[in-house]
C-alpha cells in the first residue's frame, strides 16, 4: 500500500502561509519546493526539514519486487 502524500497549507488570519509536505521520505520531498512556490506565489522565508526527510525513501521498484516474491 502506497503512502499518502499530502500538501497541507495553512493561511493565518494575516495571510501568512505555512506549507507542509507529508508522506514523502528522504530528500525527494525537496522536489515539491517549486510546486509550493508556484501555488502560493510567495517567498519562502524559512524551511524546516522534519524527521521523514532523514528516513530512507522506499523505491517503487523495490516494493514491486518484494510483492512478487510473496
Amino acid at each position: 500500500m502506497s503512502t499518502e502524500r499530502k500538501l497541507i497549507i495553512s493561511i493565518d488570519k494575516d495571510g501568512n502561509v505555512t506549507a507542509e509536505i507529508n508522506g514523502v521520505k528522504g530528500s525527494s520531498c525537496k522536489d515539491y519546493t517549486k510546486l509550493v512556490e508556484q501555488i502560493i506565489e510567495g517567498q519562502i522565508i524559512n524551511e524546516t526539514l522534519t524527521s521523514e526527510y532523514y528516513e530512507q525513501e522506499v523505491k517503487t521498484d523495490d516494493r514491486s519486487h518484494l510483492s512478487n516474491n510473496l
Binding site: 502506497s2 497541507i8 493561511i11 515539491y32 506565489e41 510567495g42 524559512n46 524551511e47 522534519t50
Partner: protein
C-alpha cells in the same frame, strides 16, 4: 511530515524590502503594512462605503469628516496622511480598523489564489477547515 515552509505571500511583502526604505518624515503621517491598492479600496468600501478619489500611488477619501490620503512610500507600502485638526489618536484608531479589515482581505485573496493555482496544477483538494485561531487549512492529495 517531511518538510515545512513558512512563506510570505508577495502581496504582503514590500517591493524594496532589502533596500533602505525611503520614508518621508511628516508630522501627520501613519505608516501601514498595506501594499495593495485594490484591497485597500475594497476595505474602505466594505467598512465605510467610502467614496475614493484618485488612483495608483496616491488616492484619498473622507471618513467621519476626516480626510485621509493614502500614499505609497519608497518601500511599496501605503502611508496615511491627514491634514485637518483631528486627534491623532482618533486617526490611528481608524487606521487600525482599516488595517485589521485589510488583513482579512489579504487572507481571502491568498486563499482564493492558492485554490485557483492548485486547481490549475491538477491538485485534488481533500479537506478544508477553519481553525479556532481563524487560520484556514487546505489539504491537497499529491498521489494524483
Amino acid at each position: 511530515m517531511s518538510v515545512r515552509f513558512d512563506i510570505r505571500p508577495l502581496i504582503t511583502l514590500g517591493e524594496t524590502q532589502w533596500n533602505e526604505s525611503v520614508q518621508k518624515k511628516e508630522a501627520f503621517s501613519i505608516q501601514t503594512n498595506m501594499k495593495s491598492e485594490g484591497l485597500i479600496r475594497n476595505t474602505l468600501t466594505k467598512l465605510y462605503k467610502a467614496k475614493i478619489n484618485g488612483k495608483g500611488n496616491v488616492f484619498e477619501t473622507v471618513i467621519y469628516g476626516c480626510q485621509l490620503v493614502f500614499q505609497m512610500n519608497g518601500s511599496g507600502f501605503y502611508e496615511v496622511q491627514y491634514f485637518y485638526d483631528v486627534e491623532s489618536g482618533d486617526v490611528r484608531a481608524l487606521v487600525d480598523d482599516i488595517q485589521a479589515e485589510y488583513k482579512g482581505m489579504v487572507q481571502d485573496y491568498v486563499y482564493n489564489t492558492i485554490k485557483a493555482k492548485a486547481e490549475e496544477k491538477g491538485l485534488v483538494l481533500e479537506q478544508e477547515a477553519v481553525q479556532k485561531n481563524q487560520s484556514i487549512v487546505l489539504t491537497f492529495n499529491l498521489n494524483g
